[in-house]
Amino acid sequence: MARHIVARTSDIPPGGNKVFGVEGRDIVVFHVNGEFFALLNRCPHEGAPLVKAACVARLTSPEPGVYQRSRVGELLRCPWHGWEFDMRNGQSWFDPQRVKVRSYPVAVESGEELQKGPYVAETFPVRVEDNYVIVEV
């Protein structure tokens, strides 16, 4: 699986998302609670664009009238029929055996780790003392 640089972390604010064309596919990347998740921008049920999905919590109920929220923001709710998918693996929370969104591994890395250029400019140590920036040559 080839690695593709799609964005700077600052391009997708927390709680936001963005679609990128990667090898002919529309991939939607979500930023939730400091983590990034990438999925195919297409609901496997009828094809709705997941970029418009609601990012919701997992809601469970041990008995009528009692509700619990967990994994806030990590579940996608399709913009059309409300099918819910786990952002981590694309798994549907309803009928999980049949319906799954294609998901992709995402990593956040520094530019240096991704690509080290062939040239190295000469650098000099810098110190700050009191109100003065001191460069050592």
């Binding site: 049920h45 009828e46 709705a48 913009p79 059309w80 049949r98 799954k100």
Partner: protein, 370 residues
């Protein structure tokens, strides 16, 4: 991994798809701003609308009895970038729906202002008339693909007839819509003058389920949840089909075409089988019926497909289509609402090319005389 989306597509289905244009029998336009509709209202009713708003048979103006699954029951991606509610921007509707899905005709179904639920019948008549004019001015005149329906609430039968006459003279409406949840079941004789006029004019009778009349939406009373209430659309349709057939509407008006809209079609076999069995036992209670209930159902009624039923096994949908009959089904998307059906993916079972042609185009072409 997902057999839903990876279902085999027949080679002939793929080939047909490229040539077959879609007739969508349920497209919901919305009023962008009250001013748009006010221009079609007499001053007296403009003032009424401003002062009182539109009335719904629920406790608070502008509310529905249940929180909907999404705001304005709309797809989250259907809010126009120019503002206004989903379905209110023609350019966006073209770009998001009509053009990409290659819609040849879209039949407009207006739900705004709770048109059929007004208890003030004069106000109800005024807004129905205004919306009938608005459909042409704002939609059909601007995009010839979009076809209007004559809204004519049947509880004010005199108004309904007058409005049908007025619109029929204009000649650009493709069907007559009546209220799905009127004061009495649709088969009752008080409504027959409307059916007589529809038959004479050759216009199908459209019944788009939804909204609230004077009754709880289920025969068992008011449900607790939206998911429960949504289910009641099928009960309502079954009740109205039963009423129309057993009261003898298709017997009395043999050329009347009746289209059930937004009720899906999964409930039809059971409702019809039951009528059929009971008819065998109790036919002398309804001697005005000259034929079996199933014959009326199969010859006088058409059903739009959305919200399509999705049984666990595709072959069960297959059986359903075969039982109801591919010649009875009219494709509908319900754009821009949340339970929209995409014509490319809604049928989780392969269709033959002949079936596709009927369901997505041919049947509607014949019913609406396109």
């Amino acid at each position: 991994m997902s057999d839903v989306i990876d279902r085999p597509i027949l080679a002939e289905e793929e080939a047909a798809r490229s040539r077959l244009r879609i007739i969508d029998c349920d497209v919901h336009p919305s009023i962008h701003a009250h001013a748009d509709i006010e221009q079609f209202l007499p001053k007296r009713w403009q003032q009424h609308l401003r002062t009182y708003g539109s009335h719904l048979r629920t406790p608070y103006i502008g509310t529905t009895p249940y929180p909907r699954s999404s705001p304005l029951i709309a797809r989250r991606d259907a809010w126009p970038p120019t503002g206004g509610p989903p379905g209110s921007d023609l350019d966006f509707m073209r770009k998001q729906h009509l053009d990409p899905l290659d819609i040849e005709y879209g039949i407009l179904q207006v739900l705004d202002l709770f048109i059929f639920s007004q208890q003030n019948l004069e106000f109800g008549a005024a807004i129905q008339r205004a919306i009938n004019d608005w459909q042409l001015a704002f939609w059909s005149d601007r995009d010839p693909r979009l076809k209007a329906s004559i809204l004519a609430g049947q509880d004010d039968t005199e108004f309904a007839i007058a409005e049908i006459e007025r619109c029929a003279k204009i000649g650009r409406y493709v069907q007559i819509n009546v209220c799905p949840r009127a004061n009495e079941p649709l088969g009752r004789r008080r409504y027959w003058p409307i059916y007589a006029r529809a038959q004479e004019l050759g216009l199908p009778l459209g019944i788009h389920v939804g909204g609230y009349g004077g009754h709880a939406p289920t025969g068992g009373g008011w449900p607790s949840y939206y998911v429960e209430e949504h289910q009641s659309n099928a009960h309502t349709m079954a009740a109205q089909l039963t009423s129309l057939v057993l009261e003898g509407v298709p017997e009395r008006f043999p050329n009347l075409k009746i289209v059930f809209i937004e009720g899906g079609f999964g409930w039809i076999p059971s409702a019809t089988w039951r009528m059929e069995r009971h008819f065998e036992a109790f036919r002398d209670e309804v001697p005005h019926l000259k034929r079996r209930p199933s014959e009326y159902v199969k010859e006088h009624f058409w059903f739009t497909t959305q919200p399509i039923d999705e049984p666990d096994e595709g072959r069960h949908l297959r059986s359903l289509i075969e039982w109801v009959g591919a010649d009875r089904l009219l494709f509908s998307s319900d754009y821009p609402h949340w339970d929209f059906d995409d014509p490319r993916y809604a049928f989780k079972t392969p269709l033959t090319e002949a079936e596709r042609r009927k369901i997505f185009n041919g049947n509607a072409r014949a019913v609406y005389k396109f």
